[in-house]
């Protein structure tokens, strides 16, 4: 290996600055050994949109020529390390740009590494991560999805923990000393962060993934039209009008056949059809027209269209009728209403479990109440044994915590 190519798969806005700190950190660490490097984002992504999967890249090489060799393309075709900083992205990457669904390990080279932050076990993650036609390694750092975003930067040490873990994965390019030095020199560095990087270096857990392991589903894809197949005048035909759900009752709209939102969301609504008062508010308020009207007048959220914004939970007048739950708690996109219709008691149990399992299900991204993320950090984050929410540099200082 004379070049190291890394991608960081992250969520728009929430993790935009995190991704860029990581890719910059890789290049600046490799520079300690005289290597050349570049850090860049996939420009066609839309990292300014909430939760949209996006990518940044870091390439380091022994010589400038080798670097150019790898730079002369829009997005690397193969990467040595895929870094995923939100484990809901284990379901795949569906960018704003309508590329279809790209498995999280798609660009990872054979025997390369998929490095993730997650509180889940490899087995649980492999229910979502697509099968690959070559073996690779899955490395985990125990952590929640970081909220180190565009507007607010939560200093949860995720960037340095990733860099520490990379020193273990690619020691030829990034030694722990070089990483520590680069962290210290950066405007956001500190001794505490160096300590976090070293902890991650020790605590990273890696497991070989065989070709037989993973989610066997064929990822959604579509072919882009030729110029002469597209309607002229920058014109897009509207989504056609929908149909009744069944027996002339209810209403299911047609949906965009190309752009699905299976991986756009970090949370999804679960609905208690027994307590629903059929007020229509979720149906009216949902910005993505996700709700299908069921024959009985309740509303089922179609998972192909839901971006996970949480508006339905906010507007529903009945307590605990709509609850947003971490996307990671689900392994499929099946209809909740059908599940409920089939077996109401079983559905109630299922629903109760999803809502009660706070450990997995609580996600912040900040929308429920101010200070939620800080509370989570204090309560749950495995920071390698170091208390990180007090006395750290930056805007997350103690006095700002609500």
């Amino acid at each position: 290996m004379s070049a190291l190519i890394c991608e960081v798969v992250y969520r728009g806005i929430f993790q935009k600055n995190l991704a860029s700190r990581i890719t910059r950190g890789i290049v600046l660490s490799a520079r300690k050994a005289g290597r050349w490097g570049i850090a860049f984002g996939r420009y066609g992504d839309s990292p300014q949109r909430n939760g949209i999967p996006a990518k940044d890249f870091a390439i380091v090489a022994d010589t400038k020529e080798e670097l150019e060799q790898n730079m002369a393309r829009y997005e690397p075709k193969h990467v040595d390390v895929t870094i995923c900083v939100d484990d809901t992205l284990s379901k795949g990457v569906e960018s704003w740009a309508w590329y279809g669904l790209q498995p999280i390990n798609k660009l990872t080279v054979p025997n390369g590494t998929l490095l993730m932050t997650s509180l889940q076990s490899p087995e649980s993650l492999l229910k979502d991560i697509h099968k690959k036609d070559a073996p690779y390694k899955l490395s985990l750092i125990p952590a929640k999805a970081s909220f180190a975003g565009l507007w607010v930067y939560r200093e949860d040490h995720t960037e340095v923990r990733i860099l520490g873990a990379l020193a273990k994965i690619a020691p030829d390019f990034l030694t722990l000393d070089a990483v520590s030095q680069a962290i210290k020199e950066s405007e956001w560095g500190s001794d505490l962060k160096v300590a976090s990087a070293k902890k991650a270096y020790e605590r990273i857990e890696t497991r070989e993934i065989k070709m037989t392991e993973g989610n066997g589903e064929i990822p959604f894809s579509f072919e882009m039209p030729k110029w002469w197949e597209m309607r002229e005048g920058v014109t897009i035909p509207a989504i056609p009008v929908g149909k009744p759900k069944e027996a002339g009752k209810g209403y299911v709209p047609e949906r965009n056949p190309y752009f699905k939102k299976y991986t756009t969301r970090t949370m999804r609504p679960v609905i208690d059809f027994d307590t629903c008062v059929k007020c229509n508010l979720c149906w009216i308020s949902c910005p993505d027209s996700v709700f299908d009207v069921m024959p009985d007048g309740t509303f089922d959220a179609a998972m192909e269209a839901c971006c996970g914004c949480g508006v339905c939970e906010a507007v529903c007048p009945v307590e605990h009728c709509v609850t947003m739950v971490n996307e990671q708690a689900f392994d499929d996109n099946a209809s909740q209403w059908e599940m409920w219709r089939k077996d109401k008691a079983a559905y109630k149990t299922w629903l109760g479990t999803k809502i009660a399992d706070k450990k997995t299900t609580v996600r912040s991204h900040g929308f429920r109440f101010r200070g939620q993320y800080d509370q989570e950090l204090k309560a749950e984050l495995d920071s390698g044994g170091v208390e990180i929410t007090a006395g750290i540099p930056g805007e997350n200082a103690a006095h700002k915590t609500v």
């Binding site: 309607r231 002229e232 920058v234």
Partner: protein
């Protein structure tokens, strides 16, 4: 599709002869074309056409929405939107007014809006000046606008009808700016044949926006955001539309001749005494007048000079112009515009013609002239000087790398 029908059309079958300016001739054509929506914002010399249309409406000859906008930006936006719902639209401006509308001018071709405009050519500020220069209309030369230059009131009338016919053809659906030299054409009145409504109806079908029509029965989204996966395909579509315009323009002129019994064989440019010419001068717009007079005088002295007056600048008649020019011993392009810092510091037309000739086996020496800026008169002396310089180049067989400014005090 006409949104509103014109109530009091002129007697349907009669042609009539009127003494009118180029701008008034455009208004006559718009009336017969049963224009639906027109927007206005005053700036000289374009304002003459907006006044002429207002008179048509107030006189009851034309029923159309006449919207006075608060500036050129809105002026062009309004007609752009009106066109997407199926209205036949007209708009126009001059000089920096046209520049102020630039953001709308840019989006009109990709949205495939067949907007027809009159650009009353005017010098760009500064200095604030009313006189003609072609740089204003040329702003949009690379953007998918069809661009033509007219020379007489008659051509103003005819070209307006032809422009609608071409722009509203489903194969094209591109905007077209008709350029008229400020003062010389917009403000001078000449005898003009105004055709009957019956003939115009035979020539010009109703505007049918088809599957691009913005209407509740045809639900579409127009102008979404797109990334690099889509933009080049959209540009390629525009490229194809502009290429198709060649055929559609030829068809329109042929039909025009059939219906109206006049009009040029060659839509693209007028050739004056070029048959046996040693030297051919090239220009656009009313500059042809001193050139033709000058040529006649020079011919009397045995100098075989001819003129090519370019009508259509976009699409550019590359092959035809090469064929017409490559037979001369030398050619001189007289630009009423400038392109500072361009190759050979030439005007825009000179460089286009240089580029067109590049692949030709026979490339006569080409001389480039800048003349008549800001409405300065192009004198016979200027024409003689240009022709003489071309003659020297014909003798030496060499192009002159210098661009000559004619009529500048030095």
């Amino acid at each position: 599709m006409a949104v509103v029908e014109t109530k009091a059309a002129q007697a349907a079958s009669e042609d009539k002869e009127l003494l009118i300016s180029g701008s008034e001739a455009v208004a006559e054509a718009l009336t017969l074309a049963d224009l639906d929506v027109v927007t206005a914002y005053p700036i000289r010399p374009y304002d003459t056409v907006m006044q002429a249309i207002a008179k048509k409406i107030s006189g009851g000859q034309l029923t159309a929405e006449y919207i006075v906008a608060e500036g050129e930006h809105s002026q062009f936006e309004i007609v752009k939107h009106a066109s997407t719902v199926g209205a036949r639209v007209f708009c126009g401006s001059s000089g920096v007014g046209w520049a102020y509308a630039m953001e709308c001018l840019v989006v009109t071709p990709p949205l495939r809006v067949p907007m027809i405009c009159l650009v009353g050519n005017r010098a760009l500020d500064d200095p604030g000046a009313f006189g003609v220069e072609h740089n204003d209309a040329l702003f949009v030369r690379d953007l998918g606008w069809m661009l033509c230059w007219i020379d007489t009131s008659q051509e103003a009338f005819d070209t307006t009808l032809i422009a609608y016919r071409v722009a509203e053809d489903r194969r094209v659906f591109l905007p077209c700016a008709i350029s008229a030299d400020g003062a010389f054409l917009t403000h001078s009145q000449a005898i003009t044949m105004v055709a009957s409504k019956e003939k115009v109806d035979r020539f010009l079908p109703r505007y049918n926006r088809g599957d691009l029509l913005l209407h509740p029965d045809n639900p579409i989204t127009v102008a979404p955001q797109a990334n690099e996966d889509w933009v080049i395909e959209i540009r390629r579509q525009n490229d194809e539309a502009m290429k198709r315009a060649y055929t559609v323009i030829e068809e329109a002129y042929a039909d025009f001749r059939k219906v109206f019994g006049r009009g040029p064989e060659n839509p693209w440019f007028e050739e004056y005494m070029t048959e046996d010419a040693d030297v051919i001068l090239i220009g656009m717009g009313t500059i042809s007048l001193p050139m033709k007079v000058g040529i006649r005088n020079m011919r009397a002295q045995g100098k075989k000079v001819g003129l090519v007056r370019l009508r259509w600048f976009r699409p550019f008649p590359t092959e035809k112009i090469v064929a017409a020019l490559s037979k001369a011993k030398a050619i001189g392009v007289v630009d009423r515009n400038y392109s500072f810092g361009s190759p050979f510091a030439s005007g825009v037309v000179a460089n286009e013609i240089r580029a067109a000739l590049y692949n030709s086996d026979k490339r006569p020496p080409l001389l480039s002239f800048i003349s008549g800026l800001g409405g300065r008169e192009v004198t016979l002396e200027d024409v003689y000087k240009a022709a003489d310089l071309c003659y020297s180049a014909a003798t030496s067989g060499k192009s002159d790398a210098r661009t000559h400014w004619l009529g500048v005090r030095e």
